[in-house]
Symmetry: D2
Subunit: 348 residues, 4 copies
């Protein structure tokens, strides 16, 4: 198994999730990066697009049309939301695909149309897409052809909440997720709002009651307890590159305590390599997961009886995107799940 | 009135709130900074402690014992929490005092003892201290001898919530305040946790269910509606110098809408110089209040019926500390309330 | 004099220097901001472009064509380099103009053509433009119709070097200026290179041996000693919003010492309000001039005999742009030079 | 060879270089971290000191006195400068040692006494210590018992300059090194100057003409050309965690050009895994080496004939400290030099 190498194409390698895939795959013993596409940059070496990859042995960027897929085993699709469906639909059938866009995350194509503003263009594919929150869907991922890699905000909050809802320890109403994200979540396209000078030394909320990750979170939570769940979700933009910290407010089920929640999470994630429950009384920082595929979760009693506060921290580019994608790749191809992902946070 | 100048002593001038008072008072037409104390730095020019004040015409730092208070009109007390009570108790009776510490904020000395870990040492003074949230207590502040200047977290959240509770527009239960603060809130003392390298490019929650500003917020909210209110309050530390953004989750009273809340806040703050209600659909950023005494507040409908989300932004060192202190000074001494506080945010 | 108010138009108010002019002019007792132009934003309130100006009483943005200049006394021109010449050439003759672009800085139109890639389009105007490094050209500025406001890099380095060259204390050869700038110097246009994520937590040199401020610095230095001077100039981009720190390496004239340099600078700037020579052995930080019109300069002996090191710090948006522009306005209109510019740094 | 594992003790693991050693050694196939010492933290798990190491399988911190060295092969010494000599002198003879402090870097004990303020306390050991700039001293390092790991500033500048001096391409006089460092270089001890609030959004020069890395740089440069060299060296503190960028100004030898310098560096470092010469006209950023053991070097012509500008970028904690230490370990123990160091920069 160790020596088996799969041949990988990354479509849309010039975005941040593409670059992060490259960083992680370069250290993965079973991965060969065979193809990188970047339509507007076709013909360039990736090092001209990402100086930190300048001295790496990597293929040149090509356009998707130029790709010979016959020797490829796995495609990571890092294209912008909304552009991905026809491209994936047109890929040869032998390919397995991990899509890092939002295009195949929502099972309900009506919900997709509502939140993304256009009809879904690959409804048949959507039916067979597996939502790739690895810890929750490992078995389906193993055999999936198309994995819809989870969004950054949904990953941390779902890992914290799904086991609690599944076990009935918390109320399915009144869940509030207050999330704080680093700026890489906004991607690499040049926007005035994301200039250093506009972000540095200040912060704001955005997408209040209207962020597209809300229905994705709700789909996850609802599926965990077979109940329609609506959450309050507020994202914030923090002057840091990486990291999402979600502070989650929940109502306990009758007779339950924060300690029960903590015990459940410890039980559920006991064998997991990437999800860690913090010692009692200690809250995680995004610093301690920077550059890693880890999710650190804390549980606190509120001062108000019957309520609890959860805090979940991830690196949005790793567990919230490219790291989880590779975790899914490991599951799909039978590699030990932590292969290439035994990372220590880059701190300080 | 214009030409009247009052003589001011700042006790504990070597902390950040002291330095910020100096910055603002240097531009105040009715203020003479006559005395600066800094016990461990006595004998130095403040410019040796704060390089940005090096070329300002300011008195040398002295110890409190060295101060001749007879010519002083007003004392700003910027000493550490817990050390202030005996010092203020010993001040000559002619002095008016604005205390920026937490020492006189909690009316209930039992609550003080519980949250601060020792008995209150100036109970008689406490009885007459006026809590100085200017917009809410202007009349009492006018004649107060001792004003307890509000804490940074309580200022923004109380300004947003008090009118809504007073008018019965929101439920007094289930109020959640998720606050994000710049690092100046932690003061200038040398702590490993607050090193640049430990804070930069990451964030965390802290003081979950245990922060001392919770009882202060609750005192404010309770007083606004004559009901005992307990809130869920979670502070976070953000890699920025200044600013507090509080995202506040409330349940609406029956039949009320976010628009009602917004209308009420507009009505209440219509004439206020420093509190501004944002246009519908626009959330404030801490950038836009940096360096100013302003508080910007937004109201949003939640996607869940019966709930709303408020966002309040201030500069913790200005409206959350030294600016509000000067606003209170203006009220106490009959200067127009905006004197010296007509500031434009330093952006970018 | 106090009560006299001049009527001001800011052309190109939607850039950072425009916004900074507004911040400073709002606090200037002799200034009325009458006109703001912003071609692509015409019709909007400036608060839609700059949230920190949302609640200020300011005129709407208009296009330059819409401006009625008859009641205007002074125009600040904040338009992009290269676009300014025809616009200024077409302005009514009664207007006095301070141009913050580079368009009229280089006296030699051949040098302009070489560095800016096109012929100068207002050669006659150029002849009468006064280069507005206030401390060096006060008398000419008084009566100038058109002032070319200095660039950010040239301001600090020229203030440090010109008196030393003029007095023959340093060698006119082997001058090296290693400058570090905040990101506001790059303006507000949306470029991938200036995204938060690309700048944060790292730094680089740029424009090595090719930056357009080199000939401007050389023009200043040459004029101070009537000798053709060429300098080595390397700018760097630092993850901070504001500030330029220039570290300058010079060879001393025979028999001269760093102490001689320091004494000369103290003598020359003794009466100046904005240029301060640091105490011996203390280097300035950009923190201590943030938001102010000040320039702080230090002189150090090198360990190598015959050499010295100067360090000069300014805020690039204030003394390096909009603050110096207002200083020039004060000179032109006979207001005390420090009017509206008695600022204390916003620290921390 | 692959399977050989050496047993490692890290003395002073609670500093940043200790933590970085742990991060890198955890991914090193030939390393067992057997002992971690941290005197004031003895008895704690390293995860209590460094949250990002909380869930790693690592030994508890012990005091040096508690260490049983018999099974240890290699000691990394990360103790503070000045405290290291007696401790290393007392270590059992079978141990090989890589010292990350400055204690054994200066061959000349008189120079040590002058710069560090006390007599060297292990003069005999000093005689046999090998200065571990790997690319320059590989052969000696192989057999060394004690390697003095280079300082952060000397590493980048020496790699750029030594081959040029050795080959006579540049003048040995008039070398100026203007270096910009991230704040991790200042270590983890709690100092007011290094608080986030004091560093963020600004910068300064420090240690002008007096930094202890100057004699170390001079020792390296002098040794490369058998000539006594003195340099001008100015360090600066930049608001970023990691990275050193050195901008180096040199005079060319008669008839030589920047292209000659570049060609020489390409030739010298052609086979090196960690030192890369940038394409012509492109300057490195610290972003592109963050978290890696790489050194990126550029050469530019100055506009002034006969001069050139070099730019060298490293991560001060990796190639400037712990990464180079592991590179030296690999050389000492016969592992391929890049083992455990094939890292991709963590960008963005």
């Amino acid at each position: 198994m160790e020596s088996k190498k799969i041949s990988i194409a990354i479509l849309g390698a010039s975005g941040y999730t593409g670059a992060e895939l490259i960083r992680l795959l370069l250290a993965h013993p079973n991965a060969n990066i065979s193809v990188l596409t970047g339509d507007s940059k076709a013909g360039k070496h990736i090092g001209e697009v990402y100086p930190h990859l300048r001295f790496k042995n990597l293929p040149k960027l090509v356009s998707i049309e130029q790709v010979e897929f016959s020797g490829i085993d796995l495609v990571f699709c890092c294209l912008p939301h909304g552009t991905t469906q026809p491209i994936i639909a047109a890929l040869p059938r032998h390919l397995r695909i991990i899509d890092l866009s939002a295009d195949f995350r929502l099972h309900d194509v009506k919900s997709y149309a509502k939140w993304y503003g256009h009809e879904h263009q690959a409804v048949e594919l959507q039916k067979n897409a597996v939502y790739g929150l690895t810890e929750q869907a490992r078995d389906k991922i193993k055999t999936a052809r198309l994995v819809a890699n989870p969004g950054c905000y949904p990953t941390g909050s779902s890992l914290a909440l799904m086991p609690l809802l599944a076990s009935g320890l918390i109320n399915s109403e009144n869940i509030i997720i207050d999330s704080k994200s680093g700026v890489t979540g906004a991607g690499r396209s040049a926007k005035q709002d994301n200039l250093f000078t506009e972000i540095n030394d200040g912060m704001k909320a955005y997408g209040i009651s209207s962020h597209r990750h809300a229905p994705e979170i709700e789909q996850n939570l609802s599926s965990s307890c077979n109940k329609e769940i609506t959450v309050t979700f507020t994202p914030h933009l923090i002057p840091m590159n990486r990291g999402i910290l979600s502070t989650i407010y929940v109502h306990l089920s009758a007779g339950k305590s924060a300690a029960d929640l903590r015990a459940k999470l410890i039980e559920v994630y006991d064998k997991e390599r990437f999800v860690h429950i913090m010692p009692e009384g200690i809250a995680p920082s995004t610093h301690e997961v920077r550059g890693t595929n880890d999710c650190h979760i804390s549980v606190f009693s509120d001062r108000i009886a019957g309520k609890a506060i959860l805090v979940a921290a991830i690196d949005n580019l790793v567990k919230g995107a490219s790291g989880q994608a590779i975790q899914n790749m490991n599951v799909m191809f039978g590699f030990p799940e932590n292969t290439g992902l035994e990372l220590t946070a880059v701190f300080p």
